[in-house]
Point group: C2
Chain length 209, copies 2
């Protein structure tokens, strides 16, 4: 993924310019969606001439990939860290993981990313692949292993070993979708909703309340 124009090593000031452009691009991609945004718009937002963009990114798609990559990086790190966090009960771990997932999902970058992948999925399949391989799979595996762990320790009901972990992470997903679609009409309290969801899930998962 990614793609500098020309060479690979970047000087200090080049890095800064590049970041400026990425920041500007993220902002207006988020505001208007990738397709609707003209390179001229990105240039204006970044306070740079159109030609300058092509000094740092070969095409509009390459710019998009750059934006996505920088938006995902922090999530990857967080997920990695979470692997170590083997605190006490499986229940606590699950709650903690859900909250991290919910927080990530609620960020503006993720909102944009979701919008982007949904709208341009087929045309920018590299992005979808990247996201699926690096974020989705490892994320679901973490939930799956927490589930197994809880079943093994007797905390969770045994049938829960066979459940699709997607059921657990569902709340942050539809919350994000709702906000993309209807935020202006009726914004929902993501935390509240995730807690409602979590409560229901725990009532179903735990052997005893």
């Amino acid at each position: 993924m990614a793609g500098q124009a020309e060479e690979k090593k970047l000087s200090r000031s080049q890095r800064r310019r590049r970041d400026d452009i990425l920041r500007a691009a993220l902002k207006i991609f988020d505001q208007h969606g990738f397709e609707a945004v003209k390179m001229a718009d990105v240039a204006e937002e970044a306070e740079v001439a159109k030609g300058t963009l092509y000094l740092y990114f070969e095409t509009k798609s390459a710019l998009l990939e750059g934006v996505v990559e920088t938006a995902i990086m922090p999530t990857l790190q967080k997920i990695g860290e979470m692997a170590q966090t083997h605190s006490g009960s499986a229940r606590d771990l699950l709650v903690q993981q859900m909250q991290v997932a919910a927080a990530r999902m609620a960020s503006p970058e993720m909102k944009m990313l979701l919008r982007l992948m949904i709208s341009g999925g087929s045309r920018h399949s590299g992005i979808v692949d990247f996201y699926y391989n690096n974020v989705v799979q490892s994320g679901l595996n973490h939930f799956k292993s927490t589930l197994d762990q809880g079943v093994a320790s007797g905390e969770f009901r045994p049938e829960m070993g066979g459940i699709d972990p997607l059921v657990l992470v569902g709340a942050p997903i539809y919350t994000a979708v709702w906000n993309i679609l209807f935020e202006e009409k009726q914004s929902i309290d993501a935390d509240q909703l995730v807690n409602d969801h979590l409560e229901l899930v725990l009532k179903g998962i735990l052997k005893e309340p």
Copy 2:
């Protein structure tokens, strides 16, 4: 909404042509997404010349609105009918409503619609408004009243009266999103997932299993 070119009354054969075009448009909008589809593509799929399209729809946007309207109509009817269906227990009603919602969400029209609203939201705000007012609100109200009904009859735990009904319909939503994004990589069994979700929800909602 909607928009015929020119006049309002349509003859038999005109209606048929119009439907042909709508069917063709739905098919390729679904396949490639609205933005990516050229009017020439629609014409080819409908086995009609490009100019003919403009005899029935003034612009590409008008065509889109036509597609959305015909895609939504059956859902509206179904939701209306469900209001009457006061079968036995609140539990049964809830299960039934969930299954209808899941089935609708899984249809290709809905998939396209979701993709469309998410990607082009700001540019096609009329569609989002229409959907929100006619489908989402009444749908959520139905769930809400089922919930209240179950609490009143003592079937459901009392706290459930205050829960956001979105928690209930969540599963079909994230299932649809998943399929839009990752269907090719790893398709999920929508029915299975909705059942898992439903099971968890019922464990949490019901006073006794």
